[in-house]
Symmetry: C2
């Protein structure tokens, strides 16, 4: 079974965006005010993600709301809570309409600044709702709810511990994923996204989070940002600091996806990171949508490139995801 662990509902029907615009505009719009028909959802998926699944020969996509659109800096805790609910409920409908093809990963109602503790409490509740009631198998966790100004403490701060306790209890992992950047110095998909991955890897290297949560599992998307390319720098840093080796400090708990959009990059990822820590993913219809003139395939067709490498451990395509997403096998039954 080929499992794409990183997909967002980037093709959601326009009513979702209109709901959000009203909310951002200042209306206290209710999640019940979103009206999208099953046919609209089918049209969005059948012409988009499902079509690409079939063309590429992938089986399942772990599917979450649009990451950039989480935009946690808007409004207050209630803004983020309502927006998370409406977004996650829509994902649940996709999963119900296409069983076996899409499994839910939820957005959390995070908020920056003083709202952090409340928003983590809300996130715990929303995570529990999505996993227990909607059958989701993971969540997205934003390390920068200020959306480009890095105003939050590191993810290793104890403020986040209630969330980690719940993740461990439910046996679901978090994919670390920043949302949009509203900072003109930091472009979103090709700077802030990758920088978020890199920043969090260092937060984890410098902390003992996994001593406190030995079974917590975190996924760094986008091939881990800059991390595999600079693996020697990180190995050296750990030695300089008298910290344990990376294998011991992070590789029992941290996983990298394959959203690296060229063959040389994917080869490096697979050479440097143990196969057991790599999860197949494409983020299809996401950050980069063009066709690569060098391959004639879309840049996000990572399966095509991985297949071409030829030496990829089979577990990367599916078995690793089943191991990291502890509830996935049950969700697919």
């Amino acid at each position: 079974m080929i499992i794409d662990c990183h997909g967002h509902f980037t093709t959601a029907p326009p009513a979702l965006g209109q709901w959000r615009e009203r909310q951002i505009g200042g209306d206290r719009v209710s999640p019940d005010d979103l009206h999208i028909t099953d046919d609209e959802i089918r049209a969005a998926i059948e012409g988009g993600q499902l079509k690409l699944q079939r063309e590429r020969g992938t089986d399942v996509t772990l599917f979450s709301p649009g990451a950039g659109k989480m935009a946690h800096h808007y409004g207050d805790e209630r803004t983020s809570l309502d927006w998370s609910r409406v977004s996650n409920d829509l994902i649940a409908r996709v999963c119900a309409l296409f069983p076996g093809r899409f499994v839910g990963v939820c957005q959390l109602p995070q908020s920056p600044g003083d709202a952090l503790p409340t928003s983590i409490r809300n996130s715990v509740a929303e995570l529990e709702r999505c996993v227990e009631e909607l059958g989701f198998v993971g969540c997205l966790l934003n390390p920068d709810p200020s959306d480009g100004y890095w105003q939050a403490p590191p993810l290793t701060d104890r403020a986040y511990y209630p969330l980690y306790e719940k993740l461990v209890e439910l046996d679901v992992p978090a994919m670390i994923h920043v949302a949009m950047s509203r900072n003109p110095a930091l472009q979103g998909t090709c700077a802030h996204y990758l920088n978020g991955d890199t920043a969090v890897f260092m937060q984890l290297c410098m902390s003992d989070l996994f001593a406190d949560f030995p079974t917590l599992k975190l996924i760094l998307p986008h091939g881990g940002g800059a991390v595999p390319y600079h693996w020697g720098r990180y190995r050296g840093f750990m030695l300089d600091q008298g910290r344990p080796p990376l294998e011991e400090a992070v590789l029992n708990n941290v996983f990298f996806d394959t959203c690296v959009y060229h063959k040389r990059g994917l080869e490096l990822l697979l050479d440097v990171i143990p196969a057991a820590n790599v999860l197949f993913a494409s983020e299809m219809i996401g950050a980069v949508r063009s066709v690569d003139p060098e391959t004639g395939r879309r840049f996000d067709d990572t399966k095509y490139v991985l297949d071409g490498i030829g030496t990829v451990d089979e577990a990367v395509y599916g078995a690793n995801a089943l191991r990291v997403f502890g509830r996935l096998e049950g969700a697919l039954k």
Copy 2:
């Protein structure tokens, strides 16, 4: 001739740090108040950078003040100006004591926030002083003078244009280099440094800066952050946006150094980026100081690793630096 284009005076005599501590503490300490003897400088260099140059067989290091220690967020414009002068003057003394071994690259007196325009004017004057009077051949340019909170406009903003005009007029390049991070979410050398490189690459991709300054040359250190590893993502982004290909948009003006501390990373850099755009560098006695147990050499001994790759274009070691640093050949006479 083997030219290391990226070295900082990380081993400066303690009096420099003491001067800075007094300044940060609130004293209006004068650059003339720094007292370091030639013997102290010789000791710092002979047992450090010069020793490694000899051991590794490199000839020249382009030498700048400690990058993290630039710490532009402290104080006001005058704070940064005095600190830059005292730091640059010390570099000039190193270069005078070891002619042919060290050539100066200056720190600029940048400041964040409202002080930006004044600090750019001051930077233009300090750059001119360093190049015309001290024989320096380049500068460090910090894209985040707030030191970890990304409060400045992108480097493509017109606020920076007076600096670019002077760089072009003097025929000297800028190495893009953030300073310290005071943000607990962003570790300095292994997160903020790399994120700065990645962020600026995207600023350049999205702008027409090089249409306005076709001969401006910028160096992205640390192997370009995440950029070569994600080269496909950037190629795809440019297609998505209807922008020119990377070769045309940035590769006439942007260069990557070889501060990547493992063989697989350096191989990727050299496979992906044209050899004409890669400059040998080690950042020795810098971010990572340990010995790599896999090679028995220090992580920052990039020459050893590059030599082992065997297929590296000879120009990477020196000729490219002579081309990018237009005044370097003259400075070495």
